[in-house]
Structures are given as C-alpha cells and as structure tokens.
C-alpha cells in the first residue's frame, strides 16, 4: 500500500472559486469583501467611525463595481492607501478581461511599494499569491505584469516619459502630493474607455503640503468630477476594547469613536505616534485635517484673505 493518508486539497478549491468569480463575477459587495478576506486575509475596514469620513471598504467596492469613475482617496499615513490601490488594481486585472492599468507613483520608492504589494517582496502584502500565479503570462515585472485574460499592469514612477505612450482604461496616481503639476496634468489624459471598461483616474495621497497638488485636487474635486473618499486613523483603527476613555491620550480626538472601529491600525501605535509628532502634523497626516502650515514664513497667511 502506498497511500500516505487523506489530505484535503484546498488549493484546488481556491482555484475553483477564482474561476467561478472570473466567469460569473461577484454577487455584491459582501461577496467581494469576503473573497478579499478569504484569499488575502485582508479585513478592509467597513465600519463608519467618523461620520464625515468614508470607510475604506466603500472605495474598494465602488472601484471594483465601477460605481465611480474618478476618485480621490485622501487618507492618513499608514491608512492602507497604497495597499488598497494595489488591491483594486489586482481585482480589476484578475476579474476583468482586457483591463489595462497604469500606476504612477510620486517617487520611485512609492512605485516600488505598490509593486511589492502585488509581488509580496519587501514589506508588500503579496496579492499575487500562488493561487493566482496560473493566470500570469510570463514573469511579474513592475514595468509589465500581464495575465492570460489580456489584462495588464504597468507600475512606473511619474515622469514626462511615463505619462506618454499607451492609453489604458485605469490610471492610478499614488502619493500625488509628490507629483509635478505638469506631469499630473499630462497624466490625466492617459485613461481611455475600451472594451466596455470605463476610463478612470484614481488618486491616493495624504495632504501634507499646504499649497501642494493634493490640496488643489481636493479643492477642485467637485468641478473635476472626483468623488472623495476620506478616512483618518480612527476609521482604520482596531476596535477599542476595555480601554478607559477618560485616561486615554487619544480621547481629545477620538471621543469614543474607536469603540465602533473594525480596522487594523494599532491603538498603541497611534498613541505613540501622537506623542512623538507635533499637533499640526498629527492633525494633518493622521486626522486628515487641512495641511500643516509648518515651515511657512507666515503661518497665518490665507490666500483668500490676503490676496486681492
């Protein structure tokens, strides 16, 4: 007898599920989020924590089901913007045929991070797990990752050269505050609707420059037709359980909101970061308030008030 005992082959089951969704799509947001949780162990925060903000899950769902064409994700540092950008790209690439995406990073480092979220290199999450490798056509490269369904991803650093060339349907701009205005303008002309997939521009960034590009994008969002998805550290924070609010260092900003949270951001990390940085930086980079005016010669300068 050569039998080695019975083993359940979950890889096959996972592949069957991928194939099912490739053929039939997803029944709705719940199924999509469940797939994400099951295949990547990613719990995209769904709870409405800050009433004026949007839970990150809403962005993923809207992006995949193409409820929104153009969007801006304005979120805190470590709020998962790059990862969610990589996730929405990978979902589009795997489950939509002939879907081309170009991702431009504000810096080489930023582009690398996005690529690593796909491959799993460095600190990347590794969305292209072994379960999906059979779909790859050739090697996974930052410059070109192609799938058997004729979808592909290009991850480049924003430059005058990278904004020229082919016109994919999807354009993702990561950390737009680091972009040059001219390149940003040229990049907006990249996406084109093709093969029943709508052209879309998705922007991810913190807003850390007082008069930076992200500030302009947000101010002009309504007239440009961008939907703003905004989340702060409390929207992605882990659920606060058993902590005494009255003695908590986050109470000033939290006001007990973290009790409803269902995210991943460690409360301890948030407390430690709040201690380390200035109030301006905390408000701007973690709570997504208006940008810090630190470093400006005249902090009180206001364009609306002081420029005729």
């Amino acid at each position: 007898m050569t039998g080695q005992g019975a083993d359940l082959d979950l890889d096959l089951l996972r592949r069957d599920l991928i194939e099912h969704h490739r053929r039939h799509g997803f029944k709705g947001p719940e199924e999509l989020l469940r797939f994400i949780r099951t295949f990547w162990g990613l719990r995209v925060p769904q709870a409405q924590v800050c009433p004026e903000h949007t839970p990150p899950a809403e962005y993923i769902v809207d992006s995949f089901f193409e409820e929104v064409q153009d969007s801006v994700c304005w979120a805190n540092r470590g709020g998962g913007k790059t990862l969610l950008g990589a996730l929405s790209t990978w979902l589009d690439t795997v489950f939509k045929s002939d879907c081309a995406t170009k991702i431009l990073g504000g810096s080489l480092e930023q582009s690398k991070k996005m690529y690593q979220h796909l491959t799993g290199g460095g600190d990347g999450w590794g969305l292209a797990t072994d379960d999906f490798r059979y779909l790859l056509r050739g090697e996974m490269l930052a410059a070109q990752t192609a799938l058997v369904n004729k979808s592909n991803i290009n991850i480049l650093t924003a430059s005058s050269k990278s904004v020229r060339g082919p016109h994919p349907q999807k354009l993702k701009l990561d950390e737009v505050d680091e972009f040059e205005d001219k390149i940003y303008e040229a990049a907006l002309l990249i996406p084109k609707t093709k093969k029943n997939i709508k052209a879309s521009v998705q922007i991810y960034s913190t807003m850390h420059k007082a008069y930076g590009l992200m500030n302009r994008v947000i101010s002009e969002a309504v007239q440009s037709g961008y939907k703003i998805y905004k989340w702060c550290v409390f929207d992605v924070m882990e659920k606060c359980v058993g902590r005494e609010c009255t003695v908590c260092e986050l109470w000033e900003d939290c006001q007990g909101k973290a009790k409803q949270a269902d995210g991943f951001y460690s409360i301890e990390d948030a407390i430690s970061e709040k201690r380390k940085v200035s109030r301006d930086t905390w408000l701007c980079e973690m709570l997504c308030f208006q940008p810090s005016q630190e470093g400006l010669i005249y902090k009180e300068f206001d364009m609306a008030l002081h420029v005729i």
Binding site: M1, T2, G3, Q4, G5, A6, D7, L8, D9, L10, L12, L13, R14, D16, L17, H20, H24, K27, R34, R37, T38, G41, G78, G79, G80, L83, W125, V236, F264, Y265, S266
Partner: protein
C-alpha cells in the same frame, strides 16, 4: 430474435494455410506503412478483392490471438521478471565495493520497487489509497455550496491566524 436467427459466430482462427497466414501478416504490415489496396494487389499479383479479404482475415486472426493470452500467466511472468531484476540488483549492491556503485544500485532498486508497485496497482493486485482527497468541479454556481466553500476556507484561515501573529496593513 429467435435462436435460429442468431448469427453464426466466426471460427476462432480462420482455417487458412500457413503460407497465406504469412501473406496476411505481410499485407497488414504494408497497410500500416500506408500502401493502398491497388498497390498491394500489384505487388502480390492478386486481385484487389483478395487483398481486402486478406485484410479481413488478418483482423479475425488478431482477435483469435488475443484470446490465447492467459492473463494470470502474463501477470505471473511479469512479476517473476520484476522480482528477478530486484534480486540481481540486490546482488550487485552486495558485491559492489565502490560506495558510488552501491548508491547507484540502491537508486535502481528504489526505482524498480516503485515501478513494481505501480504495476501491481495497475493490475488491480494491490489496493491504492488516495494520497490526496481532491475536491474539484463543485457546482459553485449554487449559493449554498459557494457559502460552504467559503466557510471551509475561512475556518482554515482562522486556524492559521491563531497560530501566527495577526498582520496589519
């Protein structure tokens, strides 16, 4: 259909002379190489009808030959040759003084053993326990089955997460 209407079964081996048996084999070989009936008829100086008849008789001859194979005898012969080969390999292993030769003999023995086991399993003489239980081709279009598939994967995922540190973004 009544008994009288039952078609007459063909004789097991067609009553044909040894010389014609020889010709039938040759004609079968020529057919295998792609020659046409007319070409074969020209080679032997016989009619095309005769060539066709030889072809048919050849088939009957093959059928009759297959019935002469004794399965048990064939299997026994194969088993004997496997065991003989393994004995010889063992002997070579024992007599070898060079360690590299010993290793080579051991590899041959393992390979022979694997083939032998596969042969026995293929012949149905040895039960095979599945090495993996593969769930595939599930009707995942059915919501309940899809739900069950997800529940199973989540259960495994939970177990893995319990054993590893929970990762963050």
């Amino acid at each position: 259909m009544t008994a009288s209407e039952t078609p007459q079964s063909k004789p097991e081996i067609p009553p044909i002379s040894k010389r014609r048996q020889q010709r039938i084999r040759e004609i079968q070989d020529l057919f295998d190489t792609g020659l046409k009936v007319s070409e074969i008829a020209a080679i032997y100086g016989i009619s095309e009808r005769m060539v066709r008849q030889d072809k048919e008789d050849g088939k009957a001859f093959d059928r009759a030959l297959s019935k002469t194979v004794d399965q048990a005898e064939f299997l026994g012969r194969e088993i004997r040759s496997f065991e003989q080969a393994m004995r010889m390999e063992w002997r070579a292993y024992r007599l070898a003084t060079n360690p590299f030769v010993k290793v080579a003999c051991m590899r041959n023995l393992i390979a022979l053993k694997e083939k032998y086991i596969k042969f026995l399993q293929g012949a149905g003489l040895l039960d095979k326990v599945p090495e993996q239980l593969k769930i595939t081709g599930l009707p995942l279009e059915d919501d309940k089955i899809r739900e069950a598939a997800y529940a199973l994967l989540e259960m495994v995922q939970e177990k893995i997460e319990k054993n590893t540190e929970v990762e963050t973004f």
